[in-house]
């Protein structure tokens, strides 16, 4: 029974939690190991009929029997549906094996009634999800027109922000052994990089977010620039996002600096403090008398920005700086590309035109451009020993994509599990990637043009790198999928709000649990057994489309036919266990042999206990 893994179980599921209090650990839905685990999970989740495994502070809001789920892979399934303040449960017991759906309401981007009721009074509901699937249910309209249908309740709890309610993250009170809010300490991270030093200082000018409300409190700037000058620079950079240090090369002192676009405008406005700041950044690196400014945008778009007061650094104003455009498109193009991708992969794949359909989405093409941009940045810093400034328009979408990828290439620390958490906390969260706006947590306005899969795209790029360097990352694919699942789930506070300032104002760390509390309390789930930490090993990935692949185990994971085979990791883990076991036995035997020789009054030195070389045989 436990062996009978099922299609059904796979097309169910998302995320759950580690329920340590109850003793049985409900592991997150297992996409990696053939769905068999899910079956187990589902079984222990339903200890007895009708009882739902609820999280602390999770309450059932409504449930309905006789709901039909139209599964695109196995056809209609009849069962019961429950809505809690956190998720949706659908369960069908009268089939073997048991079929279940369990998804956080946060993944829903749209819930709508499709068409009018049929003659039999059936109404169809469509649920569009942020995680690459659509669900469809058919349900009888309640005869009492005053009574709300379960789907109306669902709509209310799926979009709490639009209904003036709080997100479930603010109610969830699970206690984990580790507090994930303590993972990132900016000063400790800068200290790891050797900062402050003789050229760079940590400024308190933004302590109260007065200089820039979307920047963190702690900023690293050249020592030669005063806070007053920084204030003047802030009026020249879009949204006050001044050039500040992200990372410094431990040997060459070449720096990765991030910013937003300069407000040059049509008249070519200049700002001498800004020019001085960039000169100071260049001077802080004695190895090079040049610097590169990477503008993530296509040059056409950068130029068009001048009409609106923005623009890019002119060569006259910034001598010794070379400007490079990286041709990465804007958030709208990316959103459209993902929409097309979803069309191509869900629910059905057209096998014979798969490749051209995939190409027509341009998704991998965008991934390639982003990786190529990050590669050029990393190359300039590593091989050219040159400092770089990276910006796009506002410096909170393409800029963190580029800087964080370049940092992963340059600094092996960010390839560890904790290092990666720090990288996200720093480059994305503290520097104000607008998660609330880009994801639209709890907001029913699904057509909002500010939504865009920028962060997903970054995680995809990281995944591409883990494919190319399977032994260079401490974390596994499941870690990345877990991050993405909880990007939408609203179970944890990590990805809420748009900036550090907002998170402090809403007291997010005080009222919610961090995703890292959950992750770091069960690290073994996320460890890549193939990992070898090469310190100071720079990774230069290959960015040709020929070496990029679609992340099937994420984008097409709902299709049971695309279920991943047992991964290489599995075999490696088995071998590791076998080696450990054998080693133990050898040591035992050696000890035994040593004892025997000792007792037979031999004076020869005992065999070394640690060695695995063949030992002498004693008759």
């Amino acid at each position: 029974m436990e062996e009978s893994d099922s299609v059904e179980s796979l097309c169910s599921s998302t995320t759950t939690r580690s329920d340590r209090s109850s003793g049985t650990r409900v592991s997150d839905t297992e996409l990696r190991s053939k769905g068999r685990v899910i079956e187990k999970v589902l079984q222990c989740k339903y200890p007895s009929k009708g009882e739902l495994p609820l999280l602390p502070e999770e309450h059932v809001q409504d449930s309905a029997k006789d709901v039909t789920y139209i599964c695109p892979f196995i056809g209609p399934v009849r069962g019961s549906l429950s809505v809690t303040n956190y998720r949706l449960f659908f369960r069908c017991t009268d089939r073997e094996p048991v079929f279940g759906l369990d998804l956080p309401l946060g993944v829903l981007s749209r819930v709508e009634k499709i068409g009018a009721a049929t003659s039999r009074g059936d109404v169809s509901y469509g649920l569009a999800c942020k995680d690459m699937r659509n669900l469809r249910f058919v349900h009888k309209e309640p005869e009492d027109s005053l009574k709300k249908s379960v789907f109306e309740v669902l709509m209310k709890f799926a979009f709490p922000v639009s209904n003036n309610m709080s997100l479930f993250a603010f109610e969830y009170k699970q206690v984990f052994p580790e507090n994930g809010w303590k993972v990132y300490d900016p000063l400790a991270e800068y200290k790891r990089q050797g900062l402050p030093n003789e050229s760079w200082r940590i400024s308190k000018v933004n302590d109260h977010y007065e200089l820039c409300d979307s920047y963190p409190a702690a900023l690293v700037v050249p020592v030669t620039i005063t806070d007053e000058e920084l204030r003047r620079v802030s009026s020249f950079r879009a949204k006050g996002r001044i050039p500040v240090l992200s990372w410094i090369h431990p040997e060459s002192q070449a720096a990765v600096v991030r910013a937003s676009q300069p407000m040059v405008g049509q008249n070519g406005r200049r700002c001498k403090e800004d020019e001085k700041l960039l000169q100071a950044i260049m001077d802080a690196n004695a190895q090079s008398h040049k610097m590169f400014i990477f503008d993530a945008r296509p040059s056409v778009n950068a130029a068009a920005n001048k009409m609106k007061g923005g623009g890019y650094e002119s060569e006259d104003a910034y001598q010794n700086a070379e400007l490079v455009f990286l041709d990465i498109h804007n958030i709208h193009v990316m959103r459209e590309s993902l929409r097309k991708l979803k069309e191509v992969v869900y629910p059905n794949i057209e096998d014979s035109h798969w490749l051209s359909n995939l190409e027509s989405t341009h998704w991998l093409e965008h991934i390639k451009l982003i990786l190529a941009g990050a590669l050029r940045i990393a190359d300039k810093v590593e091989s050219g020993k040159t400092s770089v400034v990276v910006h796009c328009s506002d410096g909170w979408d393409r800029t963190p994509q580029l800087t964080s990828l370049a940092l992963i290439m340059l600094d092996s620390h960010y390839r560890t599990i904790r290092g990666f958490q720090i990288l996200l906390e720093k480059e994305w969260l503290s520097f104000g990637h607008r998660f609330q706006q880009r994801v639209g947590h709890g907001d029913k306005n699904h057509t909002d043009a500010d939504r865009s899969p920028i962060f997903l795209q970054f995680i995809d790029c990281v995944w591409q790198m883990t494919r190319q360097f399977p032994a260079a990352f401490e974390f596994n694919e499941y870690f990345l999928i877990t991050i993405l699942d909880h990007l939408y789930s609203c179970l944890f506070g990590t990805f809420l709000c748009n900036s550090e300032q907002q998170r402090l104002k809403e007291e997010v760390p005080k009222h919610t649990v961090s995703l890292w509390s959950f992750v770091n309390s069960q690290l073994e789930e996320f460890v890549n057994p193939l990992y070898v930490g090469y310190p100071s090993h720079v990774l230069f990935p290959t960015v040709g489309i020929r070496h990029l692949q679609l992340w099937v185990t994420y984008y097409i994971r709902w299709n049971p036919r695309m279920r991943p085979q047992e991964p290489v990791h599995q075999r490696y883990k088995e071998l590791l266990a076998k080696r450990a076991e054998l080693q133990k036995r050898v040591e035992e035997l050696q000890r035994e042999a040593a004892n025997r020789t000792a007792s037979s009054s031999s004076e020869r030195a005992g065999s070394p206990t640690r060695s695995i070389t063949p030992v002498q045989t004693f008759v």
Binding site: D351, D450, V532, T542
Partner: protein
Amino acid sequence: KHPDLLPGEVEFCSANPILKYTQDDLSQRGVFGTLFCTNFRVTFISDEKPQEKTDKTFKNKLYGENDIPLMCVDHIYGVYDEKRKLITGGLVKNKYPSKMIIHCKDLRVFQFSLTFSKEEDAKKIFQGIAHHCLEEKSLKCVFIWCWSHYSGCALFKASFPPVTQEDGDFQKHLDTMINAVAHNHLYSVKTEDLSESLPNIQDIQQSYNKFKQFFLIENSTDFWLSDVKWFSSLESSGWLDIIRQCLQKAVEVVECLEKDNTNVLITEEEGTDLCCVISSLAQIMLDPYYRTLMGFQSLVQKEWVAGCHAFLDRCNHLHQKDKEYHSPVFLLFLECVWQLVHQHSPAFQFSETYLTVLSDSVHVPVFSTFLFNSSHHRESVMKAESPLAQSGPLSCPTVWDWSVQFDSKAQNFFFNPLYLEKVKHDRAVRKPHKPKHQRNLSLPSTAFKTPPKKGFFKDETDSLKKMLRVKRLSRWRGSPDAPTATTREFFESWQHRPLDYHGLLLPCLDGPAVHIWMQRYLRWIPEVYILGGGSVAVMTKLMELLSQVQDLKRVLEQRDSSQAAKLDHRPYFQHRLLSFDSSGRLSSSFPFAYTCYRSFKPIIPTGLMQSLMVTDSLASQEDEASSVVSFV
């Protein structure tokens, strides 16, 4: 300076200095050296001192990185006044080109400049190479049982010549054939005419010709230009689709044998092309023995070599002008096997490197294995009386004697460290005996021993064909398109069962599951080398760990044996210690290309601007600046 000649190898001509361009940049830089043409290969020897010899663990003893066996030459191009022309017989006589480009069948690309050497030398070497590579040189079955499922039903293949003859007697023949295996009418027979449902050998050839062009990259501008339309180009070649169709057909055959327990008869005109592909694939999916190194080798030997696949014609070893018979059918088979290996790695004892090397060996004219059109052909050529063999019988090594090409250390790469060896059960608690598949009988002995005269079995096949038409034993013939839906179900029900690497193995054939054989096709292209990465990083780690485990086991067994005073003679197939000092720096093309130590610079793409022209209005829309902060 002269090349180290193999026994029997004769040098025809040479020229010096010749500039060999380095493949990976546009700067037209290169290495000067001497170009030779022998009766076995074209070879280039650099004038420069070989840089500190990188230890080539995976060295081919017959030919090195600057050697091209003559049969491996696919096309030769000459560059005349900046124009590239395909060299055919006619062009050879007149002018010699300033630059000669050689495309190899194993997808390497060589570029030589002829302008630096003396005119007569250049002319001689060009004509010599063109002559020996391109000139045409001077120099078939039947109803065959392939394999029996343990249930008793069997797989057969047969050739059906298009001509039909009204002929009696067919009933008897058929009954004799079927009854022998099918245990007295217990099972029905399904026939599948592969020439109806699969592409023919010319389609395969055309598709592959198109496909391989995408990998014959001459410089990095080409590379980045073709990178843009990569997926649609691949699709337009149709090659992956042909692979999918073959695997699909093999799954259908497997379904009949495994699920429906019917006999299956696959047919095509000659019975030696797609029949070989499908029958071999079906056997690999059904029988774990064929997933071992020895098993795979015997399968190729049985189905392909003894099964009369016309290697000589299909591989075009003799560069005949008549293109009709050329077709990479055997390569297609290896491609399909690779898909299986890629999807179910732990089920195979051999590695993808083994498959890649095997695909290369087809074009090394040293082995008897792939040189002939049939066993009959082989025997007649190899016989002492043959005019070709003036001095006693010819002796060619078979390709399976890998020591001819690789030393034992290099042969380690043929083993898959992920292979999950069958766990030997304790003899006391034996599982209920599962009847074995029959595989050892090979061909009916008559067909195997005596070279079949033309039409030896013809009567039978014709009559069989007729008989099948009359009796309509087949259930599918009525609905040729139906199988897809049922095989889908068959796959899904297999997928739900726990995975047994020593049991039935089926491939997933959905679009995203069919991949490109990266190792074979991308190994010579520097732009895609991943320094310090690629699957080699995993493989070397696994191999290390595996040898540690084996070491420990040996230690334990030595102890046991010393105590029990008996020796265990179990062979240690995989116990070969590998040491990679710099596995962190190996490139993904390992063990094939060795340029990885050259530099550690990233490869920055060029021409990105052309790449992605998003034309819709979204591109020009403003990101965030547009909306005048209207949130939270």
